[in-house]
């Protein structure tokens, strides 16, 4: 060992004895090999730190080293067998942990250490329930709203028919009893836990039991009123449009959201109108040139608020 002992301890060459002692203590605490069993790097570091300390904590040796009379290496002291060498072997049972939860004779009770392995691999003798298996299933938006049966192919080739109940939310977990890992020794099988990921829809959005959508309407429909077909999660329904509606008008179709399920009442479908002008012809242009809306400013809400 010919490295600079000052560098090993991380102290300057004019460090006081107390600084050296503190630096050594700090490093020794961290790297003490009985507290880091099996860690060769810690053991080597501890040896370096110890011999650096041995040199620098002895004023006479330190002075001779500083004058260049001796180098940092010295004959390695014969080390007595360390605690870890006994404790790692059978004689370590003498100091087996006896606190709460100590498992009788150490070494006999592996089950807490490897419980997962034993549960899944059937190494224990008694009957035991199989482990739960986790899967993710992508569901279409309307399948999650209305309920559906969807086929899930497992990694092992088995097929599960998963019944997605109406009103399923993104992230809901379905439990199929007995469809997980098989039990062992006649123990019951685990469950299959299926997390549902709901895909977004092209025009429906969902908040709880209610469904929201934008509905484009034509200029004549908006001005004159009309009956229009509205797609809803359960299929199209005819809706009466009163005359004189506008972009942003919101209509509610009661009970046309997520259907009732369990203790949940059915939700509503909120339809927000959006006027689409569509193709413009000369007739419309000619009409609009001669037509005015006195007093109407569609941007009146914005004026005076441009902060």
């Amino acid at each position: 060992m010919a490295d600079d002992p000052y560098k090993i301890l991380g102290v300057s060459r004019d460090a006081t004895a107390e600084q050296i002692r503190a630096a050594y203590r700090k490093l020794a605490k961290k790297h003490h090999p009985d507290l880091n069993p099996g860690n060769k790097a810690a053991e080597d570091l501890f040896k370096q730190v110890s011999s650096a300390n041995e040199l620098l904590s002895d004023p006479e040796k330190r002075a001779r080293f500083d004058r260049g009379e001796i180098d940092a290496s010295g004959a390695e002291k014969v080390q007595p067998r360390a605690y870890r060498q006994y404790a790692d072997s059978g004689s370590g049972e003498r100091y087996a942990y006896t606190g709460a939860g100590a498992g009788g004779f150490a070494g006999e009770n592996f089950e807490d250490l490897f419980s997962n392995i034993f549960e899944q691999r059937g190494a224990r003798s008694g009957p035991a329930r199989g482990a739960d298996a986790r899967y993710v299933l992508e569901a279409a938006f309307l399948d999650a709203v209305n309920g559906a049966t969807q086929r899930l192919t497992l990694p092992d080739g088995h097929v599960l028919d998963v019944k997605i109940p109406p009103g399923t939310n993104d992230g809901d977990v379905l439990r199929l009893r007995g469809r997980g890992q098989p039990g062992r020794n006649n123990g019951p099988a685990g469950d299959a836990l299926i997390e549902i990921h709901v895909a977004p829809h092209a025009f429906f959005r969902r908040e709880g039991q209610d469904v929201f959508m934008d509905l484009p309407v034509s200029l004549p429909e908006a001005v004159l009123g009309s009956r229009v077909n509205v797609p809803t999660p359960a299929g199209p329904v005819a809706m009466k449009l009163n005359p004189h509606v506008d972009t942003g008008t919101e209509l509610r179709l009661r009970g046309r959201g997520v259907p009732a399920h369990g203790k949940q009442a059915s939700g509503d479908l909120y339809v927000k109108l959006r006027v689409a002008i569509g193709p413009v012809d000369e007739k419309l242009e000619a009409f609009l040139k001669d037509w005015t809306q006195p007093g109407f400013n569609p941007r009146s809400q914005m004026e005076g608020e441009q902060k």
Partner: protein
């Protein structure tokens, strides 16, 4: 078995009182009546460890129960893993290969 007198040759700054207290606190095991203890080699190594903890690392005696309890649990675990290793060494090679492949994933 090793007597206190032999131990004192190595640990000159260890008093009978201090060692007796450690034995009372079950930090160290010893056979025989107080003052006429007989030790095994592991006891001597443990005394050396406790002395290093106390004197070199300047860990307070009141912290020793916590540290020794953790040390004992650490070595319990290591002995159990050692036994597991021995058991695994008896398994067929393809099982060991599969196990290693799992563990290094």
């Amino acid at each position: 078995m090793i007597s206190f007198e032999v131990i004192q040759l190595e640990f000159r700054d260890l008093t009978k009182d201090e060692l007796g207290r450690w034995i009372d606190l079950a930090f160290v095991r010893a056979e025989g009546p107080p003052g006429e203890w007989r030790f095994q080699e592991i006891d001597v190594a443990r005394i050396r460890l406790i002395l290093e903890l106390r004197h070199t690392l300047e860990i307070e005696e009141q912290s020793l129960p916590v540290i020794l309890s953790l040390v004992d649990q650490l070595y319990d675990m290591r002995r159990r893993i050692g036994r597991l290793n021995e058991a695994l060494a008896d398994l067929p090679p393809e099982v060991r290969t599969a196990l290693v492949a799992k563990l290094v994933q």
